[in-house]
């Protein structure tokens, strides 16, 4: 048996596979029996073959360094995370509900702005936000859907309840790794699959294609969908290529496209211009069209906004969707669900203090050592302060930042993220993790079974981002009595 299994215990935390008493959770029983039965050499060999598979499959992500960009092999832990289908179906319903409400909100903001008029959400936090894009006013994309692809980050607290930590509505990434992680596990631990029925994840590109194809302005049997990437030096380039290939779509960069005088989008092919129906953009909206947004962008397509506003091309996610991807707006999602859907939220949000509110701010400034402070408008885990793990000096620095720009900061209680057994060096140890499922919203709504589990590989760390040394795990949603 590998070191660490014996006496593995989650103290005051929820562990995904092992109960507080040290026994296996029902759904994990079979897998644990097998994993714990493997001699140490065997575990090492399995991990080595996972590393090899990752290299062979060319799964990488790009990290920016001072010496240029390097492709790093994808960090992967071979012990899967296991969740029952029954539990997941509740989460999935909650995520669909959120996606519907968020899309209602975006559509409302760019049209009647009822929610602002009714005072449910303060107008200034929406209209003064850099994420609010005035050029999008008056647009109504098909089905009223703006954010077709959403990646929501989930965590569990001590009791095992899921909480949504944030909704990524701009260009959420990671889904290709979810698919590849399953592929790796199939290769290196095939015997684990014998006793389980695990919901498959490899149909994601197909589902994505269906969602995108519905948006086509032209009625055609096979609309022309393209994936718009900033290029090879983007950290998610691997994923852009993966999805393009999986959908049989072209992977294009800005200069491959142009907007003609008829306000339609074309790609330059060797057979001449070919009209594009749907652009799945993996480039920030600020860079999407130098005519409409940042004029200095060389990544974008001049006139793309014009073509979109004329209804000649669909863009996913629609420009302007980012207005709902903001940690201040996040605090209002439960209100949105009640307001637009007249429903009770099915999945929890984390209580959030808005530093723009005086009462909240006073509380935050008095309790910096207990809270997690986040800038409203950053992603990738940058600019976050985890109070209990930070020095006094850092607390003081954040106090200054908050007082200078309260609108830009929110705070939340430090959640004790759940853990799962993770194979670190030569022993199995608990490591914190989160989960990013992907929600596709078109005519219908669909949620990936599971998602991408990210693991903080450093002991005690709560930072799971792969750009900051995080790893990942295959995530199973298993059916059956348990």
């Amino acid at each position: 048996m590998t070191k660490g299994w014996k006496g593995y215990q989650a103290v005051d935390l929820f562990d995904e596979l092992i109960t507080a008493k040290g026994g296996a959770r029902t759904a994990a029983r079979q897998a644990l029996r097998l994993l714990q039965g493997l001699p140490e050499e065997e575990m090492i060999a399995r991990r080595r073959s996972a590393d090899l598979a990752i290299r062979e499959m060319g799964i990488s992500f790009t990290v920016y360094t001072e010496g240029g960009n390097i492709d790093r092999a994808w960090p992967f832990d071979i012990i899967p995370r296991i969740i029952t289908a029954r539990e997941w179906s509740q989460v999935s319903l909650g995520l669909q509900q959120r996606s519907r409400a968020l899309n209602c909100f975006i559509d409302d903001i760019y049209n009647q702005q009822r929610i602002l008029a009714d005072g449910v959400v303060p107008a200034e936090i929406v209209l003064d936000s850099p994420n609010f894009k005035a050029p999008c006013m008056g647009m109504s994309p098909r089905y009223g859907v703006w954010a077709h692809i959403c990646g929501s980050d989930l965590v569990r607290d001590q009791s095992g309840r899921f909480f949504v930590l944030e909704d990524n509505l701009r260009v959420p990434s990671g889904v290709s790794y979810m698919v590849e992680n399953r592929e790796i596990t199939k290769r290196v631990l095939p015997e684990l699959f014998e006793n389980y029925s695990i919901l498959p994840v490899d149909d994601y590109p197909l589902r994505l294609y269906e969602t995108l194809a519905q948006l086509s302005p032209r009625t055609r049997r096979r609309p022309t969908v393209v994936v718009l990437t900033p290029g090879i030096y983007n950290s998610a380039y691997f994923e852009h290529a993966f999805l393009a290939q999986g959908m049989g779509a072209e992977l294009v960069e800005g200069p491959d496209l142009f907007v003609d005088t008829d306000d339609c989008v074309y790609m330059r092919t060797v057979d001449g211009p070919e009209r594009v129906d749907v652009v799945y953009r993996r480039i920030d909206e600020e860079f999407m069209d130098p005519e409409a947004f940042r004029a200095d962008s060389v990544l974008g397509v001049p006139g793309l906004m014009r073509a979109w506003k004329q209804g000649n091309v669909a863009i996913a996610n629609a420009p302007g969707s980012g207005v709902a991807d903001d940690k201040v707006i996040y605090a209002f999602v439960p209100e949105m669900i009640r307001y637009y859907l007249n429903e009770k939220p099915l999945v929890n949000s984390v209580p959030t203090y808005l530093c723009m509110r005086e009462k909240d701010r006073d509380y935050v400034l008095g309790n910096l050592d207990k809270l997690v402070v986040k800038p409203a408008n950053e992603s990738g885990g940058y600019g976050i302060m985890v109070g209990p793990h930070s020095t006094r000096a850092t607390h003081r620095e954040f106090a200054r930042l908050i007082e200078k720009d309260p609108r830009n900061y929110i705070a939340q209680p430090t959640l004790s993220l759940s853990t799962a057994p993770t194979y670190v060096d030569t022993s199995v140890e608990p490591r914190h993790l989160d989960l990013r499922p992907f929600i596709l919203q078109g005519k219908d709504c669909w949620v990936t079974p599971g998602g991408l589990t990210r693991v903080a590989m450093k002991k005690g760390s709560l930072v799971v981002n792969s750009s900051q040394g995080g790893g990942s795990k295959d995530t199973w949603i298993v059916e059956g009595k348990s």
């Binding site: 290029g231 090879i232 294009v252 200069p255 790609m267 330059r268 092919t269 057979d271 211009p273």
Partner: protein
């Protein structure tokens, strides 16, 4: 099948760079052999290779003395000069990196490994001792990549642009080699007359044409025969005629091919009109100069028609 203009362009350049790397390796290797056969004092200058490869400026920017070491260092170990093997390989790799989805999976691995090999081995292969194995390895790996593409790619646009790039580069190299043989060395030849046949057979080797030439023409290597063979032996896959025919074949199924076809037809007519026995060295040189211009025009026409161009 849709093919983005930018992807077509990258495939075309990938292929040209791979061919260039292979041809350069062959040229250096062949010349290397020649040098050992020639008595001290009557070696032709090392700058022949730099002239064949159009690299005089690149050389002068870096070195003052035309010596064996400097020429070889430029061609096989310099990473910034466009005429060098490492530069060609690195450029090929950059082009494959962004076209992996239209190529067989192993293509990226092989090109990447070649790039790593050249990075590790080039500097220590400047000396005579390691030079030959290095060049042989580069040639073998290039051939492996070509073989892979030839045996696994569907005959669609991707294959077409790869083939266009390779044939154009190959035709270009063939004419360069002959030009130097004909125009440069031999005219001022008094001192080199004795080694002329040796030199021509080296040039044949540089084109991988020695054994085909022996079988077709015979063992005696003679200037006119070599020129004739390189230009007009339609069965030999590295002859200019063969390359031109292949280019024409691949251009035909492409849409909007008229401008490029006009150029290639013109090239074909020139080639037909070439009669080596009747022209002087000087005239041959002028012919080749013009021929090179036509190849450039062909490249330009391909780029204008099919590669990334601005909106109408």
């Amino acid at each position: 099948m849709t093919m983005l203009s930018s992807v077509a362009e990258r495939l075309y350049w990938m292929s040209r760079y791979l061919e260039r790397a292979e041809d350069t390796a062959r040229l250096v290797g062949a010349y290397n052999h020649l040098i050992m056969d020639i008595p001290r004092g009557s070696e032709p200058a090392w700058d022949i290779m730099i002239r064949i490869l159009d690299a005089v400026r690149a050389f002068e920017d870096r070195y003052r003395v035309v010596s064996e070491q400097n020429v070889i260092r430029l061609l096989i170990a310099d990473t910034t000069a466009p005429c060098s093997i490492p530069f060609a390989i690195a450029s090929a790799r950059e082009n494959v990196r962004t076209t992996r989805d239209v190529l067989p999976e192993e293509a990226w691995e092989l090109v990447n490994e070649l790039h790593l090999y050249v990075g590790e081995a080039a500097k220590s292969s400047v000396g005579r001792r390691n030079r030959h194995p290095f060049l042989a390895e580069v040639i073998a790996r290039c051939q492996m990549i070509n073989g892979l593409l030839l045996s696994t790619l569907s005959r669609d646009h991707a294959y077409r642009f790869i083939k266009l790039g390779r044939l154009l580069e190959c035709a270009d190299m063939g004419t360069r080699v002959v030009d130097v043989g004909a125009g440069d060395i031999l005219d001022r030849a008094g001192s080199h007359a004795a080694i002329e046949p040796l030199l021509w057979s080296v040039l044949l080797q540089a084109l991988s044409a020695s054994s085909a030439y022996r079988r077709e023409v015979g063992p005696i290597v003679e200037a006119n025969d070599v020129v004739n063979f390189v230009f007009t032996q339609g069965n030999f896959p590295r002859s200019v005629k063969f390359c031109v025919a292949g280019i024409r074949e691949e251009l035909t199924p492409l849409s909007n091919h008229e401008p490029a076809l006009r150029v290639i037809n013109r090239i074909r007519r020139r080639l037909k009109g070439l009669s080596v026995e009747e022209i002087t060295r000087e005239e041959l040189h002028i012919f080749i100069d013009d021929f090179q211009l036509q190849l450039n025009a062909l490249h330009q026409s391909i780029a204008d028609t099919w590669f990334r161009i601005d909106a109408p």
